[in-house]
Symmetry: C2
Subunit: 419 residues, 2 copies
């Protein structure tokens, strides 16, 4: 895309209300627009990152045999009353609204109830199980405060996956597999190094659950983590019991403490929802049993915000190649004829190029490029062209080198980006 | 995908509340689930159609230079008060909700106000214009009634595009271009033959607008259309004046009357929103002017429902190849070894295959296949394999033929599908 045609522009300042680093940088770079506290619109560069994150998650889940759907935000109260989650006294983050005929509706903050209810149409016998369905869908949560930028939103896209099995054992096999799938996802998203599978107490219906916690100063949680063994415990749940329950030996672990961001969680739901909503299957003898469920969440903007918190410097963002809005930032310093040719060639070869063809000074272009944070910067100037070359630089690394124009190919670029 | 793994199943009956043909067929075939009247969840087959429709629209809009974004559903009242669209007495289909601190919020039924407000950050000079931004985003509309299945929802995905120009003339050039872009989109969606560019009065801020109306018995509108000249007039707006205003000669037109579904609309907004929200640009002399806006809508489920209304028979749906959930329905009649091999080969070659590997009787498989409506059915049975062949049949056409197994290639399939 030509930068002269991109409608967003960078800016130096953001509103004082925006206290989080992720929202500050994303706003300054023109990725997002703040509608209300905790409510953001995603502009072209921001939406490209969101879609890349979604696509990585989608690929990993599809490979694991999960099926994509999308459920509604508007919800009637009947199914939520069955699980006692309709009352505002029990669930304190509902947004509610009303139909013309005064019927009260809720805006879903999660989807265990609706998906269990849907599946009653499709589950009769043990032969119909297992299966796994997920969605990327807008969640609404009436948070009291929203100070973490896109990391804790009142409206945000969540990936929520639900699993359906005949037995606890069958569920647990899938649950264990999802730990690996999640770690693969976070590795591909550029968060693998800083992210720990974290033991946590969780929810009323299972004694423990797992979270995926990414070490960051912006985190609202604290974990105790063993860097080598790649496991962690949420500090809130740290006790002698937890070691025993998870079969860990305290003296074999070397814990450090750090603030962290919860970027995913996976829960064993047991039969809580299937019993309440009467989601049952008949076994080979025709006897009925409630379905064993699990739920597995990733907040997409939470992940995007975490990537920014983990990967930035004083000049701006440093996107991991797999989620960058573009792969190459091609900057022309008054050499638009040759640059346009390179832009067209690379685009045709399938490289995602943001081409800065604007008639502005070099300093401004470089500052914008650092702020936006595209991983590979290619500069074409009079000086480089005298040597039939371009200057190439990786965002976040000081060194840059001159390479012959002819060697700027898709393969060379993907190689440098590790893609 | 293997049909044995698809969690949805077909069914014979739907709730008596579901009076529209589109919702009846889509529900029976397992494409959608009704949450509430006018509120649907999209299951794997349904979501695949939604995504294909979106992708066709996206490709045509990107080619026309439009930039994709996504705005929030939650809206504060300030910007809507500026255009006098906050009051429930003026706009009667708001869903409203409240924050913990009692601040009233709305769930956007459209996005002229928020987008004009966002663009204030990016428009200063005439050099910043024109540009065009669109989104696929969930709209909430508090409709009094919802009896048309997925064609008139209380919650639905809409493509809304907004254009920003310096002058009326520049706007009109783009507006005219969008008429063609829209017709291209509807042609690719399999609705070209039945769809007419339709003159209509429309909105308070411009005397006329254009709608795209598809002839169908399920339509809530009525148009007068000239089949040969491919133009129509909304019957509500039929008058001698309209001929004069559009420069048409009444006696040169040969009008028929038919019920129709509005599947798209394009509006000249003038400076109504930019003036109210102070979205202005400076001309070359530094003088300020309000930006000239347009808006261009397509309801994605409305289009999907219309395709079903237009393309079905007594046995089920008949998807146009470009939007079908899968391209080929491969049916194995107890020949799963050879069928699996063909399934793998075709999938590897990039053909989208739903492979019916279920252990059920042939009659049920054929009935399901007709209901689901995948355009090309390939049957492998003992009988066909005796001739090293498969039976191939196009949905909606009675004839079928035997073709050699070796000739079932991607090219042959795409050729038959016209893709």
């Amino acid at each position: 895309m030509k930068q002269s045609q991109l409608f967003t522009k960078t800016r130096k300042d953001v509103s004082a209300e925006e206290v989080s680093k992720n929202a500050q940088l994303l706003t300054r770079a023109g990725f997002i627009h703040r509608e209300l506290a905790g409510v953001y619109s995603y502009l072209p560069l921001g939406l490209r990152v969101i879609e890349k994150i979604k696509q990585i998650i989608r690929e990993e889940l599809n490979t694991a045999g999960c099926q994509e759907i999308v459920m509604s935000a508007l919800q009637g109260k009947e199914i939520w009353e069955k699980t006692e989650r309709w009352s505002d006294e029990i669930v304190d983050n509902w947004f509610k609204t009303t139909l013309k005929n005064k019927t009260e509706l809720g805006l879903a903050f999660t989807h265990e109830e609706p998906i269990a209810n849907i599946m009653k149409n499709f589950v009769q016998s043990y032969k119909d199980l297992p299966f796994f369905a997920y969605q990327f869908q807008t969640k609404f949560r009436n948070e009291l405060r929203a100070k973490s930028g896109i990391m804790r939103g009142r409206e945000f896209i969540m990936k929520d996956l639900y699993s359906f099995h005949t037995t606890k054992e069958a569920h647990e096999e899938f649950y264990d597999k999802m730990k690996e799938v999640y770690m693969n996802i976070f590795r591909r998203l550029g968060l693998g190094e800083n992210t720990y599978l974290t033991m946590s107490s969780g929810v009323p219906f299972s004694k423990y659950s797992y979270e995926f916690q990414t070490i960051s100063d912006a985190g609202e949680d604290v974990i105790l983590y063993d860097e080598e063994k790649r496991i962690a415990i949420n500090k809130d749940d740290f006790s002698d019991d937890i070691f025993e329950d998870f079969g860990l030996k305290k003296d074999e672990l070397n814990f450090k403490e750090a603030p962290s961001i919860e970027i995913g969680d996976i829960y064993s739901l047991g039969t809580k929802y299937s019993e309440a909503l009467d989601l049952t299957y008949a076994d080979a003898e025709g006897k009925g049993h409630p379905v064993f469920m699990g739920s597995y969440g990733i907040g997409v903007p939470r992940v995007m915000g975490t990537i920014v918190e983990v990967h930035h410097d004083e000049n701006g963002m440093i996107w991991p190649a797999a989620v960058a809005p573009f792969q190459v930032h091609l900057i022309s310093l008054n050499q638009n004829e040759k640059a346009e040719q390179l832009y067209k060639e690379l685009t045709k070869a399938g490289v995602e190029v943001l081409y800065d063809d604007r008639d502005t000074r070099a300093g401004g272009k470089f500052a914008d490029s650092d702020l936006i944070g595209i991983p590979l910067r290619v500069v074409m100037s009079k000086k480089t062209l005298e040597q039939d070359a371009v200057e190439i630089k990786q965002r976040g690394i000081d060194a840059c080198d001159m390479i012959p124009l002819l060697s700027v190919t898709r393969d060379m670029i993907m190689d440098r980006l590790g893609l």
